[in-house]
């Protein structure tokens, strides 16, 4: 039996409004994309091949699911028109169906099943026609039963329409509460009701109240209280003394200090109430970091420290820079490309020359060890266009996925906090660590981080 998963844009349009960065089919339910639950179900029913059918863009889904080899099945993609009848949908996939029995799951609904039960025999013996239906979708079988003798097998199966934030929240909490019994859920669970991903750093004083699900690369700082019923995505920082309870925190979200997130959905800098549907977009740099008095006070000393630090580096590196860059330039190994980068002030750009010495010979090694490629940028610290340490400058012309929602959460620097921390080089992780330090680091710790960045930088060669 093959499976067709059919979804129309109109059914999940609310996801585009509520969570603009997530494709509706990849909407995480208990830290697992929606589509994966359907794929798991198709496998449970015994499908060797799944076709994902949509009337909109499937690009993001395709990039995530690829050809299905990760699950040991074939996944392919096809387009349909919004008004297509079931017959037309089957016709458009005639070659895929190949006269076999077909299960069509349509609509944006959460399928409640139980992975311990035998859906394969059940689906095989069910008569042709609708298997289960709900307000938001249905599961229908086409073609004659594979096993005519009906079996008494009975397994729970129902649909829950995901028609808005409220039902999405309910489905997520339900998946968390039933835990890994009924569904395959991500994370490693030392004990039931508590699934934790890779690279999760937790202070000793953090309190975890089951059930919780935590993604990868998560930092939980001192005295944070997580749960009960907390779903925390990947690349998340929950700062000191904050509480996250009965809430969903999406990937790449920073929850500041001493906050109370109860019964909410936090995604990036947006906080929503799933029941009333009210959403607030935080325009503060520290998203949700509470009231900070010292912001204006801390800014000036920090600028002075940065300028002094830059001045010291300019003096110390002047001789090596002049010698090495001149020699490299003569040998053609000093190539520089000028580009526009986002400035710390919103809407403005700065142009920076980016030098990339090849680490092929001794001179290049010296250049990269001493960060001479960044030398010209140091002068921009004196003119206050760059910080000495801050965010990685983002190219101005691209719609960068990590582009800050507001300029305050981004301050381009000669060195970046991500370099100092040798944080995994992928974008989302680096962005969140940079945001964290922008908020937390002061003039003194900045000096320490500059030294760390200076030492760490030459070792990482894989960053693009």
């Amino acid at each position: 039996m093959k499976t067709i998963l059919a979804l129309r844009e109109a059914e999940c349009a609310w996801v585009r409004d509520a969570f603009p960065c997530v494709h509706p089919l990849l909407l995480p339910i208990c830290n697992k994309p929606f589509i994966e639950f359907l794929i798991d179900f198709a496998i449970l029913v015994g499908s060797p091949a799944v076709r994902i059918l949509g009337d909109g863009e499937l690009d993001a889904v395709e990039r995530y699911c690829e050809n299905g080899s990760r699950w040991g099945i074939d996944i392919s993609y096809a387009n349909m028109q919004t008004g297509d009848s079931v017959e037309t949908m089957l016709g458009k996939n005639r070659r895929f169906c190949d006269k076999e029995r077909v299960m069509m799951v349509s609509g944006f609904s959460f399928v409640r099943y139980d992975k311990r039960r035998d859906y394969k025999s059940l689906a095989g013996s069910m008569p042709e026609g609708e298997w289960v239906a709900g307000p938001g979708g249905s599961i229908t079988l086409f073609g004659a039963p594979e096993k005519p003798e009906a079996q008494a097998a009975d397994a729970p199966l129902s649909l829950m329409a995901l028609d808005g934030m409220a039902s999405y929240y309910r489905a997520s909490m339900e998946a968390l509460e039933t835990g890994a019994d009924r569904y395959v859920l991500p994370g490693y669970g030392g004990e039931p009701g508590c699934a934790i991903g890779r690279n999760v750093v937790m202070s000793k004083s953090v309190e975890i109240r089951k059930p919780v699900s935590i993604g990868n690369n998560v930092q939980l700082l001192g005295d944070a209280i997580i749960g009960p019923s907390a779903i925390i995505g990947s690349n998340v920082i929950i700062d000191r003394e904050s509480t996250v309870e009965s809430s969903i925190v999406f990937d790449n979200t920073y929850i500041g200090e001493q906050l109370e997130v109860i019964g909410r959905i936090a995604s990036g800098n947006r906080l929503s109430d799933p029941v009333s549907g009210v959403a607030v977009t935080m325009e503060d740099p520290h998203l949700l970091s509470g009231i900070r008095k010292s912001e204006a006070l801390g800014a000036l000393p920090r600028k002075i420290v940065h300028a002094l630090g830059a001045l010291i580096l300019i003096v110390l590196l002047a001789v090596p820079f002049l010698v090495v860059s001149t020699l490299l330039r003569l040998g053609g190994g000093w190539r520089s490309a000028t580009g526009d980068y986002l400035s710390g002030k919103s809407g403005e750009t700065i142009s920076l020359g980016k030098v990339e010495p090849d680490a092929a010979n001794a001179l290049d090694t010296i250049a990269s060890t001493l960060s001479l490629d960044r030398y010209p940028w140091l002068f921009r610290v004196l003119t206050a266009e760059l910080a000495l340490i801050g965010s990685t400058p983002l190219p101005a012309e691209t719609q960068h996925p990590n582009a800050p929602a507001n300029a305050l959460a981004y301050r381009p620097g000669v060195f970046s906090y991500a370099e100092a921390e040798q944080w995994p080089a992928t974008g989302g992780d680096a962005a969140i660590v940079e945001r964290y330090h922008l908020v937390h680091s002061g003039p003194i710790s900045d000096i320490g981080l500059v030294v760390k960045a200076f030492v760490n930088r030459p070792h990482e060669k894989t960053t693009p």
Binding site: L58, D59, N79, M80, T88, G91, K92, N93, R94, R95
Partner: protein
């Protein structure tokens, strides 16, 4: 690019083979059944191994001139590369796309009967 015309069930099938780009797009636009506003055509893309926006523009432009664009040109058997070019520009919204030419012919035939 090679263009082969056959017919089945009263529907003209235009099968393309090769690369559909700026060089070959005018050839497709000039093909009589494609250019005729009254003829419903199934465009078989199974053997198209590359298509860029010139090729896409030719298909979209030909559809525009059909009486009923969505049923005047019905597409079949496009590979993943070609499908991606359609999706990049959202042009998949304009067409009925089949993974099987005979199914596409059946569809075009019923649509024609429905209209006459």
């Amino acid at each position: 690019m090679i263009i082969t015309e056959t017919s089945a069930n009263g529907i003209v099938i235009v099968a393309l083979e090769g690369r559909l780009d700026a060089l070959s797009a005018p050839k497709l636009r000039g093909s009589p059944p494609v250019a005729d506003p009254k003829t419903a055509v199934v465009l078989d893309l199974e053997k198209v191994d590359f298509m860029d926006s010139s090729g896409l523009g030719a298909i979209v432009g030909a559809a525009r001139e059909k009486g009923d664009p969505a049923c005047g040109i019905v597409l079949s058997c496009m590979n993943n590369k070609v499908r991606r070019t359609f999706e990049t520009t959202n042009a998949q919204r304009l067409f009925h796309i089949f993974d099987d030419t005979s199914a596409a012919v059946d569809f075009a035939a019923t649509r024609q009967i429905a209209r006459t």
